[in-house]
Amino acid sequence: MSQNSSTLPRWIDIGLIPILNVAMALLVSGLIILLIGESPLEAVQIMIQGALGYDEGIGYTLYYTTNFVFTGLAVAVAFHAGLFNIGGEGQAYIGGLGVGLFLLLADDSLSPILLLPVGIIAAGLFGAAWAAIPAYLQAYRGSHIVITTIMFNFIASALMVYLMVNVLIKPGQMSPESRVFLDTAHLPFAHEIFAWMGIKIARSPLNISIIWAAICCIGLWLFVWRTRWGYAIRSVGFNEKAAVYAGITPAKTIMLAMFISGALAGFVGVNEIMGVHHKLLLNYTAGYGFTGIAVSLMGRNHPFGIILASLLFGVLYQGGAELAFEVPTITRELVVVIQGLVILFSGALAYMSTPWIEWAYGALSRRQSSAGQGEG
């Protein structure tokens, strides 16, 4: 009876509340834009126009969305096992290293048809391996996974700098980047595919990774809610003692969930390294791993919600860049503030409005039921 959020119907919990949260974030953002003397309405218009108004903008928005889907799903699957995987950033980074190393080694020797599936596997395995270490420490040694995954982000970052500067750098250049992969190892861009079909659209980083992201969404949904392994993961996440009672081993389940989580985060590397940059370089994860936390929270750890939340953040990223470009007084930093507000309201303060909505819903349903009784 006293348990919150269980009294509300699902459509409010996963529909109305997130929308309200974003609305509140935009309201506060609007006030800030007002304060610096610009028109909030105009800013919103520029953002939406920039993100969704023309084909290049849409391409960029969907490219960002792809990354957020991967990192959002990664956070979600860990969350279902009761784990807070903050290490998406590092896992994505190492996932990129995986696919990059593979392509550097094999782009000339392996059949191009095999490059994509094996590249995906390489990214997934590397990301999973990177997540497996904190997972092992949590499952068998009791080190808290929040702490270890954060630390592994730093280790991943340092490792990448070392590798790029000392090992993988293409000889004879200053910037720490590897050689460019052969053309056959590039994932087709969306504009290339459309060109084959005779439709001309503007160039953007959007590539076929987005299809893989969609497959991951469906796959993860099936896995979590339709298989016994997903059942085990959710049992451990909700009630570890009951899971033990049911003969489920929490340690193994934690390993499994984190392995999948790390692999999903690692797929960011497929999009970035194989899809966009076509070479190994530094800092291509650009905070996608961290934003994935907000995406997952906002999407209520459900693939469908994560797709919507990823789209929203894609719009924010792309539209925000456009906004900073169009309106000189709204700087890049202010755009980050707006993004931060959305993350704050939909992530950290996600349940702030719940008591009010519960109260309102309770009052409404009481009125309805007493009206019903009045008639009867």
Binding site: Q3, R228, Y245
Partner: protein, 536 residues
């Protein structure tokens, strides 16, 4: 509703010394309503508690007793209605507000910090000065006076965690009195006590009552109401259905009022066909991390077609025993036999293996172990059997089958509502328990381990669950039951084993046991008595 009392013709006789008719009301609730979403937990509740009386509130689980008291203690705010304390209308919005009008509460689950001393626990939240030391001394003086006045003996200097449960409860009472409570609410205070401790508690309550403290006792145990209260109010489904003067009512009438229909308390217990020993335990020892034996060299057997009840005060190794036998917890030494076969190696901490041996387990704490409250009922209905071929097709769970099977279990065990999709948490305790029992019994176990089969379950469901256990016994299943409800143990068991400090200290036949005898055994006092007798 106060009117009902008079209409019932149950007005106090003038000769009643405890509750003179003129005694003013300490608490008067008028038209209290509280809803959680669409659920009406309290529906226009009216009640009057007279100053200086012991007032019982009785009702099944989920009848709204706890909600009502939470409103009175400021945890919830009522949607409607007024609260009067000592004739003045008050608004109680927090527990501080409740304390300031003189209401104290002893919760079912104690709100004590184990690593604090008794004194520190009592003044927690009521420190009188910035520096702790001065306040502590001041409190000590006041508490000493209170202890003397009411005969509540608790050592103020010991660590609270070291005290037995009964004394911890006294600390809670002292805590309320220290805050000048004149109205003391006790929520299911006897759930964790031995019969002797209960008697002790009632003595204290009587003493407090003599000194003018008004006592409100919330319970679902009819016997307690009959023993100690002056007046009793009965709740059912969020409504106050009756007020009675205890002297003018009977346990039967109250039970009927609580449930809303007649209760058949006697179950027909056909003599079972006692067969071969199905489960046999030899020299079982389980040690805690600190090498303290939790179960100490335990040996017993349970035969097919027999119910063996384990009685004992909580925390004497019963929970650990169930956990070991069901494979959740490893054991250090000893042997476990199933139908004469040594299954000790398989038993080493693998609940899945144990299930495969046809040992089913209805755990003591269904929220903690027996189900996942966030799961749908149908998901909870396969917990422990999620890997079974019947529930899976290929890599996927076979949801249509799971749904159908869950519906079948629900029908067989009268689980309501019959909605496999309902969230497990949204079912009542009785229905949750029935679903778990259905899940475990349906697999045709040879041994059923069952802990607290009817804890937090309403009377109607208790009847049903007891019937199922008896039925299972008739079919030749060996049932090992752990329960703190002595009535239940005595009613169902063919043999009763009493556990104390990890050992079995006594065994009695079910039909020879009585409460007093078991109580002494549970406190391990009978052997000393017997010894004293032989010495004499």
């Amino acid at each position: 509703m106060t009117g009902t009392m008079e209409n019932d013709g149950k007005k106090r006789g003038p000769g009643d010394e405890n509750s003179p008719a003129a005694s003013p009301s300490a608490i008067k609730l008028t038209d209290i309503s509280k809803s959680f979403g669409p659920v009406r937990a309290n529906d226009s509740v009216n009640m009057e508690i007279h100053a200086g009386t012991i007032h019982g509130i009785i009702g099944e689980n989920g009848a709204g007793k706890s909600t009502l008291m939470s409103i009175l203690y400021g945890f919830y705010e009522a949607d409607r209605g007024t609260i009067e304390v000592d004739g003045k209308t008050v608004k109680i919005t927090s527990s501080q507000a409740a304390i300031s009008v003189g209401i104290g509460m002893v919760h079912q689950h104690f709100m004590l910090i184990d690593t604090f001393t008794v004194l520190e626990n009592i003044i927690l939240g009521a420190e009188t000065s910035a520096l702790l030391v001065a306040g502590l001394e001041e409190a000590r003086v006041k508490l000493q006076a209170l202890e003397d006045e009411y005969g509540l003996n608790v050592d103020l200097n010991v660590l609270t965690g070291d005290l037995p449960v009964g004394e911890q409860q006294r600390v809670e009472i002292l805590k309320a009195l220290y805050r000048d409570a004149r109205i003391l609410i006790l929520d299911e205070p006897t759930g964790v006590l031995t019969p002797q401790e209960t008697a002790q508690l009632f003595k204290i309550l009587k003493a407090l009552n003599r000194e003018g403290v008004t006592i409100v006792l919330i319970t679902h145990k009819l016997k307690e109401i009959m023993t100690i209260t002056d007046n009793v109010s009965v709740m059912r489904a969020g409504q106050m259905v009756a007020h009675r003067k205890t002297a003018n009512t009977s346990a039967e009438e109250l039970a009927e009022l609580m449930v809303g229909r007649k209760i058949i308390n006697e179950i027909e217990k056909s003599t079972g066909q006692r067969g071969q020993p199905a489960l046999k335990v030899e020299g079982l020892t389980v040690k805690s991390a600190g090498a303290v034996p939790l179960i100490d060299d335990l040996s017993f057997e349970v035969c097919a077609g027999e119910i063996v009840g384990i009685a004992g005060v909580s925390g004497n190794g019963q929970s650990e025993l169930l956990e070991v036998l069901s494979g959740i917890r490893p054991f250090d030494t000893g042997k476990i036999f199933l139908n004469g076969r040594d299954v000790s190696p398989q038993h080493l901490c693998d609940p899945k293996e144990v299930r495969g041996l046809k040992i089913a387990h209805v755990p003591e704490d269904r929220h903690r172990l027996g189900m996942v409250t966030n799961f749908s009922a149908q998901e909870s209905s396969i917990l422990g059997y999620q890997d079974a071929a019947v529930y899976n097709s290929g890599p996927f769970l076979d949801l249509p089958t799971i749904n159908r099977e869950c519906r079948r279990l629900m029908e067989g065990f009268d689980v309501r509502p019959r909605l496999p999709e309902i969230r497990s948490a949204n079912m009542s305790g009785g229905n949750q328990q029935k679903l778990i029992l259905a899940r475990e019994i349906d697999k045709g176990p040879e041994v059923l381990l069952v802990g607290q089969p009817t804890r937090g379950v309403d009377i109607g469901a208790i009847e049903f669950i007891h019937g199922q256990l008896i039925e299972l016994r008739k079919q030749g299943c060996a049932v090992l039951m752990v329960s703190v409800e002595l009535d239940e143990v005595m009613k169902l068991s063919d043999r009763i084993l009493v556990m104390f400090d990890g050992r079995i200290v006594a065994e009695v036949a079910g039909n020879k046991a009585d409460e007093k005898m078991l109580g002494l055994m549970m406190a391990n006092a009978h052997s000393q008595l017997a010894q004293a007798e032989t010495n004499a």
